[in-house]
Subunit: 186 residues, 2 copies
DNA sequence: CCAAACTATAGAACGACGTTCTACAATGGT
DNA sequence: ACCATTGTAGAACGTCGTTCTATAGTTTGG
């Protein structure tokens, strides 16, 4: 098999050298494969990105999935899982959410799997709403708010936009974000 | 003068064709200028981006600046201004916050003006804190939280990541985000 | 069992990119 | 009027994603 090696080489490059090093020739070289192989086994560079996107959302979906008897706790862990996924798989997060690749447009099926992840998150919101959170806000709006906040925090963190001059504990700042949203929605 | 035409051509392309169309030759053609001019009058493509960055943060800074007697109201308007800036100057916002340009790294002075904008925002947070908001959170953490939330919402909006299937009023969803944060911090 | 048909391969090649080089024209201070 | 400096156009270089070409390998049908 040659596909998996190409994907893991692509991911290696993405994680260690960032999007600027993500080229057909670099991927092929690291996978010890001819550049042409990327066109034989994938649909070019976009095909590789598409595959990473889909695998990424599969992992991401698991990181968001919590289903105990305590819905509010599940939602909290889903938000923590959101950030943990981004930090542990920053290459995948870049593909999925930061759009840093020229001419890459996810296919319809790729967009579909992304929506499924949002649905997973939305389910936790709805369960929490039954448990008394989120007042009378529409669940989908509340979910979008929480999702946006997580994405904003995490993407600034990944991009290294460090406004707080000193590197105060970033875990704590994220927690403040979550607790503030929780209190605001209560 | 030739610099301004190059910059406005670059901005035009960025606003109307997105980062993928942002090339030296395309900018030069639209500015009716030889490609070399971009190296004579700027430091290459990165120099153009740097100039857009600096001009962008100048406008951005104004969009965040409110200073009436009502600090809380000022902060609310600053957050609205954040989003309005992004929607009205999406090209600039892309340069400043989305990092979609290969090999572009802002200089130290460019990072400095970005920090000044955060400082403007932070000032509003501190004034609001004196007026009773934000409990005992550190002002800088509270500012980072609000900034992250704004950035997350706006960047998903700009990238067209539209999870709410129906295009429900996006103004309203942003307002929900702000009000939730306000209530959470109170 | 072998010829034929398909498939993967390496490597050159193409157009576009950012950037640099190379002459040549324009300009301005003395 | 001279020459040093500066801006110009356009070709050229290396790299990018992608395609083409010719060859080697593998499968398949009789």
């Amino acid at each position: 098999m040659i596909g998996p090696e190409v994907l893991s080489a692509a991911l290696d490059i993405l994680n260690h050298e960032g999007p600027d090093g993500f080229t057909v020739r670099a991927i092929a070289q690291r996978a010890k494969v001819a550049p042409m192989a990327i066109y034989n086994h994938f649909d070019g560079l976009n095909g590789v990105l598409e595959e990473l996107w889909i695998q990424g959302f599969k992992i991401f979906n698991e990181a968001l999935t919590f289903h105990t008897e305590d819905a509010k706790d599940d939602l909290y862990h889903a938000a923590l899982g959101y950030r943990r996924f981004a930090l542990e798989h920053r290459g995948l997060y870049t593909v999925m959410f930061l759009r840093r690749f020229r001419y890459f447009l996810p296919s319809n099926t790729a967009i579909e799997v992304a929506h499924q992840s949002f649905q997973t998150f939305l389910n936790n919101v709805e369960r929490s709403q039954k448990a008394g959170w989120f007042k009378d806000a529409k669940a989908i709006d509340a979910a979008q708010v929480m999702w946006s906040a997580c994405h904003g925090y995490v993407s600034l963190e990944l991009l290294g936009v460090n406004f707080s001059a000193d590197p105060a504990d970033p875990d704590e700042a994220f927690q403040l974000l979550l607790l503030t949203l929780r209190d605001g929605f209560r």
